[in-house]
Symmetry: C2
Amino acid sequence: MNSNQYLQAAELHCERRGCKLTALRKQVLELVLRHEGVVKAYQVLADLQKERGAAAPPTVYRALDFLVEQGLLHRVDALNGFIVCDHFECQHESMILVCETCGKVQEVDVMAALNGLRDVAQAADFTLSHQNLMLTGLCKACRV
Amino acid sequence: MNSNQYLQAAELHCERRGCKLTALRKQVLELVLRHEGVVKAYQVLADLQKERGAAAPPTVYRALDFLVEQGLLHRVDALNGFIVCDHFECQHESMILVCETCGKVQEVDVMAALNGLRDVAQAADFTLSHQNLMLTGLCKACRV
DNA sequence: GGCTTGATGTTATACAGTAACATGCGTTCC
DNA sequence: GGAACGCATGTTACTGTATAACATCAAGCC
Ligand SMILES: [Zn+2]
Ligand SMILES: [Zn+2]
Ligand SMILES: [Zn+2]
Ligand SMILES: [Zn+2]
C-alpha cells in the first residue's frame, strides 16, 4: 500500500467512523507517513511550517490526537512519538517493537499472546483494556 | 514492609551492588515512598524544596535515574512518572497496571506470561530484552 | 438571516528533561 | 601533609513536550 492508497483508505475509514479527515489532518498524516518509524510532534510541526508558514503546537497536537483516536497512528510513550498503523481497519492489539540500538520500529499483531497477560491481570483483580504495547529489544540487524 | 524497613533494605541493596544510597538519594526515595502510586519528578522536586530550600531539576532527575538504575523505582513512561518497586531484590519482569479511572497503580510479576510475547517477537526476528510493561485497564473497585 | 457545532488559529504558559560547568569532598598515592 | 583523582552535588540556562484559554471561521440547520 503506497502513501496515496493509504491516505484514501484512511479517509474512508474516518467517514465510516462518522468523522472527517480534513485537509489539515490529512496533511499532518501525510507528513507522518513521509518518515520511517517514529515521528515527533515538533518534527511534524516544523514540516508543517515549511509547507504552510505559520503553525503552532496546538494545531499539530490536535491533528495527531485525532489520528490516534481514529487508530491511524499509535502513540509511542517511551519516545514521545508516533508511528503509522498500517492495519487500522481491523480491531487489533499490537506490540510495537523498538530496537534499542538502531531505533527502528515495527508493529506486530499479538492478540492471542496477550491472553497470558490478561489472565495474570485478572488474577490480580484487574481487567486489562485494549492494549498497544511498546517493548524494547534488538532487531535482527543489531542482534549480531 | 514499612517505609523505614524499605529504606534500610534499599541501602543494603545498593551496597551489594557496589554503590551508595547517599543522603540525598535516600531523601528522594523517601519522598517517593510517601506517595501512593505514581509520582512525578517535579512533584518530588517541590517536596524536596520544602525540606531543604534550594533544589533544581537536575538534582532530582539524577537521584531518580540512580534509583531506577538500582531497580528501586520503575519509570512509567505513559505518565511521565515513577513508582516504587517493592521487590527490587529479585530479578523480575513485571506488568504495571494503571487503572484508567482512579489512577491507582499496582505491579505484578509476569515472567512466565511474557514468554508468549517473546515467541511472537522472535518470530518477527526481534529479541525482547528485559521488560517492565505498563498496561492500562480497570481495577477491581472501578470495574463495578 | 441568526443559530449551533466542530475545526482551526493564536497567544501564552505549564510541565518535562538535559547540557555544561562549578563546587565540594572523600580516597589513593606519593 | 598535599597533590590528584573520582564521584556526588550545586547552579545556571536552556531545549523539548504539551496544554489552557480564548478568538475566529466555515458548514449545516431552522
Ligand atoms: Zn496498529
Ligand atoms: Zn536495530
Ligand atoms: Zn518491580
Ligand atoms: Zn480504579
